[in-house]
C-alpha cells in the first residue's frame, strides 16, 4: 500500500508544478525573477532524510523516474532533470550519514540540495546552448528566489511528512510493512 503512495504523491506534485505559476500573482511571474518550483525534489529530500536507510536507495530511483517524467512533460529535453535530481539526491544520501535527521538538518540539506540541483540544470542547459545567462544574473534572478520559494514549501509540508515518513522507514526496516 505504501509502495503505491510514494509514486502517487510524487505524481501529484509533478502535476501541481504545472499549475504552480498560476497561483503566484501575475506581477511576480511577469517580472525578471525566475521562480522555479522544485516540489518533487523537495519531497525527495524528505524521503532521503527520513525514509531511506543507509543501505536503501528508494529516493534515488524515484528521482530518476520522476526527473524523466518532468523532462518529458514540461521541457521536452530528456535527461536534464533526471540526471540532476538523481545525482543530487545521491549526494544528499551520502551527506545524511554524517548528519542526524532533524528539522535543522532538513533545512540545511534542502538549501544545499536545491542549490546543487538548480546549478546543475543551469550548467547543462548552458552547455547545450539553450540558455544564455550570465552567472551573476542567474544567481540573483533565479537561484535566490528559487531557493527561498522552495524553502517555504519545504517548511510548509514538514508537519505532514516528517514523522510519517520516519515511521514508514522503521516499518520498512522491521519488514512488516504492508505491501
Amino acid at each position: 500500500m505504501k509502495r503505491l503512495l510514494f509514486p502517487l504523491i510524487l505524481f501529484l506534485l509533478t502535476i501541481l508544478e504545472g499549475v504552480a505559476l498560476d497561483l503566484l500573482p501575475t506581477d511576480l511571474v511577469m517580472g525578471n525573477l525566475l521562480i522555479v518550483p522544485h516540489w518533487v525534489f523537495a519531497f525527495l529530500i524528505y524521503m532521503v532524510i527520513f525514509y531511506d536507510k543507509d543501505s536503501t536507495y528508494h529516493s534515488v530511483v524515484y528521482a530518476l523516474i520522476f526527473g524523466l517524467l518532468i523532462d518529458a512533460v514540461y521541457t521536452g529535453i530528456l535527461g536534464v532533470y533526471m540526471f540532476s535530481y538523481a545525482l543530487v539526491i545521491y549526494i544528499i544520501h551520502g551527506l545524511k550519514k554524517i548528519l542526524h535527521g532533524n528539522f535543522y538538518v532538513l533545512i540545511l540539506l534542502g538549501i544545499v540540495g536545491i542549490f546543487l540541483a538548480d546549478l546543475l540544470i543551469y550548467a547543462i542547459y548552458t552547455s547545450v546552448g539553450l540558455v544564455d545567462m550570465a552567472l551573476e544574473n542567474y544567481f540573483l534572478l533565479r537561484m535566490l528566489p528559487t531557493i527561498l520559494s522552495n524553502l517555504v514549501f519545504l517548511i510548509v509540508i514538514y508537519p505532514f511528512t516528517a514523522k510519517r515518513l520516519s515511521r514508514w522507514g522503521r516499518e520498512q526496516l522491521t519488514g512488516n510493512s504492508a505491501l
Binding site: L23, N32, L34, A72, T75, G76, G79, F83, V128
Partner: protein, 293 residues
C-alpha cells in the same frame, strides 16, 4: 572498498553517457514525439485536466475580485470606444461584401486568411522558466498538428511544438529563437509592405525581436501593427502579433531590428485558439497546376 569506489565512478560515468545521449536525441531534428512520450503526455494531461479545474476556479475568483475594482472606469472607456466601433463595423462590412463580390467575379474562393479555429484550454505551464511552453487540452484527435499557430482573442501567443493524442505542447512567443521563427509583415498603405521574421524575445525590455529583411522607403514608426504573413507557408496572414515599440540596428549594423510589444498577454493565457490552415493545402496545389498549364 576499492571495488565499491570504482563501481560508484562507473555508475556516474554511465549516467553521464546516458544524459548526453538523451539530450542529443531530444535536441536533434525530430518532428514527432516517440510513442512512449506521447503516452506519458496523454496520461499526465488527463490528470492535469482534473487538477486544473479547481485551481482555475480559485484563481478565477481572485481575478474576478480584481476585475470588479476597475469595472466602472473600464465601462466608461469601453462605452466611448463602442460608439467609434459602430461606424467602423459598418464600414468593414461594406468592404467585406465588396471584397467577396470581387473575389467571386475573379473566381477565387480561398484566401490566405482563411482558417479553421480549434478552441482549447491551457491546462499547465512549464515550471522550468527557461522553456516557455504551455500544454493545451487538444491533440491530434482534434486535428492539432505541429507548427500550427496559436492565438488568443488579442493576438498571437505561439505555435504548436509537439502533439500527443489528446494534448499538445505550445511554444510561446517569448521562447522563440533563431530555430523557431515566424514570418511577419507590416502593412503599408501606399508603398511596399515591410517583411521580416520574428526571431526572439528580449527579456529585459519584454519585447519581440522583429528582424527586418526587406525595408520600405519610409522608416518604421512607433505603434505600427505587426501581423503574420502567409509567406511562411504554415499559417494564415493577418494574425496580429504586436505593435512596434522601437527600432534599433542589430549587433553588426547590417540589418535593423524592430522591438515589438506582443499584443496578447503572454503571461496570463487561459483559453486559446489553434489555427488550422491545413485544409486548403491540397486545393492550393491544384490551383498551382492549373496556372502552370
Amino acid at each position: 572498498m576499492q571495488f565499491f569506489r570504482n563501481k560508484r565512478l562507473f555508475i556516474l560515468l554511465i549516467g553521464f553517457i546516458v544524459l548526453v545521449a538523451l539530450i542529443g536525441y531530444s535536441l536533434g531534428e525530430r518532428n514527432n514525439l516517440t510513442t512512449a512520450e506521447k503516452f506519458i503526455n496523454d496520461a499526465v494531461g488527463w490528470s492535469q485536466n482534473i487538477i486544473h479545474t479547481p485551481v482555475a476556479f480559485v484563481t478565477g475568483i481572485a481575478t474576478n475580485v480584481r476585475d470588479f475594482k476597475n469595472t466602472y472606469e473600464e465601462n466608461q472607456l469601453l462605452k466611448e470606444q463602442l460608439s467609434q466601433y459602430k461606424s467602423l463595423i459598418y464600414e468593414v462590412q461594406e468592404i467585406e461584401d465588396e471584397n467577396e463580390e470581387l473575389r467571386e467575379l475573379l473566381g477565387i474562393t480561398e484566401t490566405v486568411r482563411d482558417y479553421v479555429p480549434i478552441q482549447a484550454t491551457v491546462i499547465s505551464r512549464s515550471p522550468e522558466r527557461w522553456v516557455e511552453q504551455v500544454t493545451i487540452n487538444k491533440g491530434e484527435q482534434d486535428g492539432v498538428r505541429s507548427n500550427m499557430v496559436v492565438i488568443t482573442a488579442e493576438g498571437m501567443v505561439g505555435k504548436v511544438q509537439s502533439t500527443a493524442e489528446f494534448t499538445s505542447n505550445v511554444q510561446l512567443l517569448t521562447g522563440f529563437d533563431q530555430f523557431n521563427r515566424i514570418s511577419a509583415t507590416i502593412s503599408r498603405d501606399e508603398e511596399d509592405d515591410i517583411f521580416g521574421m520574428i526571431e526572439g524575445f528580449d527579456q529585459e525590455t519584454n519585447s519581440l525581436l522583429f528582424r527586418i529583411i526587406e525595408e520600405s522607403d519610409n522608416d518604421l514608426e512607433e505603434g505600427e501593427l505587426v501581423v503574420s504573413s502567409e509567406l511562411g507557408g504554415k499559417f494564415p496572414a493577418g494574425l496580429i502579433i504586436g505593435t512596434v515599440k522601437e527600432v534599433v540596428s542589430d549587433q553588426y549594423g547590417l540589418t535593423r531590428i524592430a522591438m515589438v510589444e506582443p499584443a496578447a498577454d503572454i503571461y496570463d493565457i487561459r483559453h486559446v485558439i489553434v489555427v488550422d490552415r491545413s485544409l486548403d493545402e491540397p486545393e492550393e496545389e491544384g490551383n498551382d497546376e492549373e496556372e502552370d498549364e
